[in-house]
Structure formats: C-alpha cells, structure tokens
C-alpha cells in the first residue's frame, strides 16, 4: 500500500541514499537503526514534510511525491508527540475531524469512541502539559487514528517513556491494531520494539536501508558486516580460513564450519569469557590476552583486549571486573566457543 522507490535526500547532517521498500496493507513495519541513521528524515519524506532530492513515494498506487502533507492523509506521530499545548485533549483529538467538517455530534462520538479504546476517556478535559508521558503518547495515537488514516507513521513512539509504561504500551499497541486494524510504519532504535511488534523489519544504517526481512531472518542472518556490527557482533575478525581453522594476525581460531580463503567472522563481546587461569575446556578457543583499556557502561564493562595483534572487545560485569582486578596491562585468558563465531 506504501511504496518508497529509491528515495534520496540530503537534509542537514542527515543523508538518505536510494531507499526502496514497501509496506503491505495491515502490516506493522519497523525501521530499525541507530540514532543519526536518517530514520526521522525518511518518515518526514513519506509524510510530505520534506521533499526528497530524488525518488518517488506511492500510496495505494498513486504517486504522492509532490502532494503536500494535508493531501496525503498519512497520520504522523513525531517523537515528542507534538500535542497542541493550547488545546484540551478533546480538541487535540477532534482537530482532524473538524478539518473534515464532520457534524458536531459525529466529532463528539468518534472522539469518545477512540478515547474509549485507548483508555483516555477520563483525560479529555485536560491540557497536554498536565499529562504523563504515557498519557501523552496515547493522546497522540488517538489524534492520529481518529481520522482513520490509511497508514500511521510513528517516530520512536516509546523512546521517552519509563520502562513499565513502555512495556504496557507495546502490549496494548498489539491490541489496538487488532481492534482498529491500521497499518503502521514505525522507526526505532529499540530491538525490543522490533521483536515485540514488527511483522517485518528494515535495518537502516548511515542513510541506507541495508536489509529487509522478518525479525528472525534479520537477527539470525545479518546481510553484511555492518548489520552484524549493529546487531551486536562488535568483534569482526578477518583472516585466511583453511578448513576449520582461521589464521588472523598470527592467531589460530577454530571455526564452526569448513571454509576456505579470505573470510571475516563476527563474535559478540558477551560470548568472550575472561578468566585469570586457563579454563582447559577442549571445545573452546582459548588465548592469553592483555587488557588494553576498560570502558564502563553502567553495570557492564567493555574490556578491550589484545590477543597477539588481534584487538577484541569483551563484556564483563562490573563486579567481575572488581573481583578479577581487571585493569589496563593485566594478563587474562580469553575464551569463546567456536559456535559463537558467525561466518559472513
């Protein structure tokens, strides 16, 4: 129903490069990417707020690229919700209906109906600034859905919410979609949202849509090194494979499969185990390593290691760091299972 055809755009520090994908009727399509990937720009191009430098946008087969936003009828929910602060919640939700010149009773009925579904009936008389984050998000969704748009565009809809509200809203979002049957295009950097809500996922990196597929497909078979890195394979090791052995910077690594020639493998930092004594388990790759630096990430610590000439990153918890006395210059043993290696 929505077709984006090779859209490119340079906008401030963001770039879109040759974006092509489609959203099917009734689908919840998620565009997953780190912040700065250009996700918001893409949504605004689709909504008609930004004009693309090249490429076309089709809605139900019709070319809408040159139409202003008000002629497209796509509901857009920006990250900050953009509730109209000088209007009551009721007037916010009724805004689109009144523009459509619906009779007053009809407006009243539709607003109350959607407010019922979204469980915000008791908020209709309030001003937006008195609402909590979760309530604001519900109102923004109600305001968008009440005009029954063919497609609803959501920009990081759950990013500004606390963890409890967020989990609740993600669950309810599934119910609303069942009840109201809308189609959604939703951009986010959250893996959780992609897993919980996405029928299909597109991974966006540096302004390019690099992989589109079902959630499981994308997470288990990253199409490229960049996708793998974004999905958490922070260690990418390049070397020459000969059967089940990879030689990289003078280090010999056991592979999970037989390969030959120049290859790259990915390894998640959480799959590397650090110990002060060798673990002596036959199934593992085990190496002597020197700690280069450590990087605190809240309760987790990223340890940068050198195994010979190979730079590896490993995650350990802060308490293990303290217990093992890990600090720059310390010698440790790093080990990982061959099966943790992902061959591209």
């Amino acid at each position: 129903m929505l077709e984006v055809n090779s859209v490119s755009k340079d906008y401030k520090e963001f770039k879109l490069r040759d974006i092509t994908f489609d959203v099917r009727e009734g689908e919840h399509f998620i565009i997953l990417g780190p912040s700065g990937a250009g996700k918001t720009v893409l949504l605004e191009v689709i909504a008609g707020i930004i004009e693309p430098d090249s490429g076309r946008v089709y809605l139900n087969g019709e070319d809408v690229t040159d139409l202003p936003p008000e002629k497209r009828g796509l509901a857009y929910i920006p990250q900050n919700y953009a509730l109209f602060p000088h209007m009551s919640v009721f007037d916010n939700i009724a805004f689109g209906l009144r523009l459509r010149k619906l009779p007053k009773a009809e407006v009243e009925r539709k607003v109350r109906e959607i407010a019922e579904v979204l469980d915000i009936g008791h908020l209709l008389g309030r001003k937006p600034k008195t609402l909590s984050g979760g309530e604001s998000q519900r109102v923004a969704i109600a305001r968008a859905l009440v005009v029954e748009p063919p497609l609803i565009l959501m920009d990081e809809p759950f990013a500004n919410l606390d963890v409890q509200t967020r989990s609740r809203l993600i669950n309810e979002m599934k119910r609303w979609r069942k009840e109201l049957g809308f189609t959604a295009l939703h951009v986010t950097h959250s893996f959780e949202e992609a897993v919980s809500l996405g029928d299909r996922v597109g991974v966006m990196l540096n302004g390019r849509l690099v992989q589109v597929g079902s959630v499981r497909e994308v997470f288990s078979r990253p199409a490229s090194e960049d996708v793998a890195r974004f999905l958490g394979f922070e260690n990418i090791i390049e070397g020459t494979a000969n059967g089940r052995v990879l030689r990289a910077n003078g280090v010999e690594i056991e592979l999970p499969v037989e390969v030959h020639g120049r290859i790259r493998v990915g390894l998640r930092p959480e799959d590397i185990i650090l110990s002060l004594e060798p673990l002596r388990s036959s199934a593992r790759n085990e190496f002597k390593a020197v700690v280069d630096s450590v990087e605190e990430l809240g309760p987790l610590v990223r340890v940068h290691l050198f195994v010979g000439g190979l730079h590896l990153r490993a995650f350990i918890t802060r308490s293990s760091m303290l217990e093992m006395g890990i600090r720059p210059g310390k010698e440790v043993y790093a080990s990982f299972k061959a099966s943790a290696l992902h061959v591209f």
Partner: protein, 236 residues
C-alpha cells in the same frame, strides 16, 4: 566580598540616575496638584493626548498587520538575502530621529507633511522593528513539528498558521506590539519634522516648555510618564 560591594556602589550611580528623575517629577507634581488638575481640563492637552493615543495605536496595528507575516517568514523560511533583511529591520534604532523625519519627507514629501499619516509614518519607521522581532522570536519558539502534524491531519499551511502558530506565539506578539506602541508614543524628533500638527502630547510638552516654561509642561509629562510606566508594568 569587597570587590562586589565596590562594583555595586559604582553601578548604583546609574540606577539612581534613572530612578531619581522618575521619583522627583512625581514628588514635585504632588506638591502642585492644582496645576495638574488645571492641565487635565486644558482642551489642548486632552486633544493632544487623544492624538498621541490614536496615532500610537494605529501604528501598533499597522506594525502587527505587516510585521506578523514578516516575522513568520523570517522564522520559518531560509531565503537568499535573509540576513540583509534581518539587519535592515534593526537599522531604524541607530538613525538620529530628526534624520528619520528628513528621510521620510524626502521620500514621501507632501503626502505625509503635517497630517495624521505623517505622525504614523514617523512612528512606524522607528517602532516597527519591535513587532517584527517579537513576532519572529515568538514563532521561532513554536515547534515547527506542531504545524507539520496539523498539516498531516489535513490542515492547509494557512490553517496550521492560524490554529497553531498564531495562538501559541500570541503572548510574544502582544508584548512586541506593546513595545511598538510605547516606542511610538515616545517619539518626538521625527514627528517634529514631519508633522508638528496635528499636535501630539509629546510635542505639546515641548511647545508648553518653550512657550510657558517648565511648570506648565510638567503636568503633561507626569501624565505621559504614568502612562508609559503603566504600559511597562503591563509588559512584565
């Protein structure tokens, strides 16, 4: 902290210098209420106050009519020459007031000489920047996303402006308009050149001073100061 006390002592000179004349003129007039009451019954004074109020109000309305759209364009649109326009808007602040009068006469000659139009023309030139800048800042403070969302909900650009941007920027615009009004009613130099008649209160102050001396011009001054201060308090 001796340095700060020293600085406060030095700095208080200017504070006193501004406050003192305000206090003194009210106190001296309070000792001469008869003259104040007499002035309030002087038909020339009433007429001139009416002229000042009318022309300042007209100026503020004209500044609003043209300045609000200009402020909106400056807030929302990038265009070549924008910084030149921005600079031009601030130019009237630095031009000597008598020269403003000469420039306007040179440009519009008899069309504005000694008429209400002339008073308003002089006032508009020196005071319009306040409305333009206030409107621009007011619109800049309205998140453009709000208007964009209104448009995705079906509002035209004009409708998004009138239902979202304008009501939200209203307080800033109103305070700009009040500043414009206050600056307009404070103008003397340009009006003296362009339109000595019809007589405005601020010109009458000068005329009474020249013809009858300080005591005669003081009551009108007190009335004007009171008005200006009231407006100023309203603004804060």
């Amino acid at each position: 902290d001796y340095t700060l006390y020293l600085f406060a002592t030095i700095g208080s000179f200017l504070v006193v210098y501004i406050a003192l004349p305000l206090v003194v003129i009210f106190l001296k007039q309070a000792a001469d209420l008869r003259m104040l009451i007499k002035t309030l019954h002087d038909p020339l004074v009433i007429e001139s106050l009416r002229n000042s109020l009318l022309t300042a109000t007209a100026t503020a309305l004209i500044a609003l009519l043209f300045g609000v759209p200009l402020g909106y364009v400056l807030a929302r649109k990038e265009f070549p020459g924008k910084s030149l326009v921005q600079a031009l808007v601030d130019v009237p602040i630095v031009i000597p007031h008598s020269v403003v009068g000469i420039m306007l006469l040179v440009t519009f000659s008899n069309a504005i000489l000694d008429s209400y139009t002339g008073i308003i023309a002089a006032m508009l030139f020196v005071s319009a920047p306040f409305t333009i800048n206030a409107a621009r800042d007011g619109f800049l403070a309205v998140d453009e996303k709000l208007e964009q969302v209104a448009r995705t909900l079906g509002a035209s650009r004009l409708r998004a402006f009138s239902s979202i941007a304008l009501p939200m920027a209203f307080p800033a615009i109103a305070s700009g308009a009040i500043m414009t009004w206050a600056r307009a009613i404070s103008e003397v130099g340009a009006i003296l050149i362009v339109a000595y008649y019809p007589k405005t209160a601020q010109v009458l102050v000068m005329e009474y001073f020249n013809n009858y001396g300080l005591r005669a011009s003081r009551p009108i001054s007190v009335i004007l100061v009171a008005m200006s201060l009231a407006i100023f308090v309203l603004l804060r």
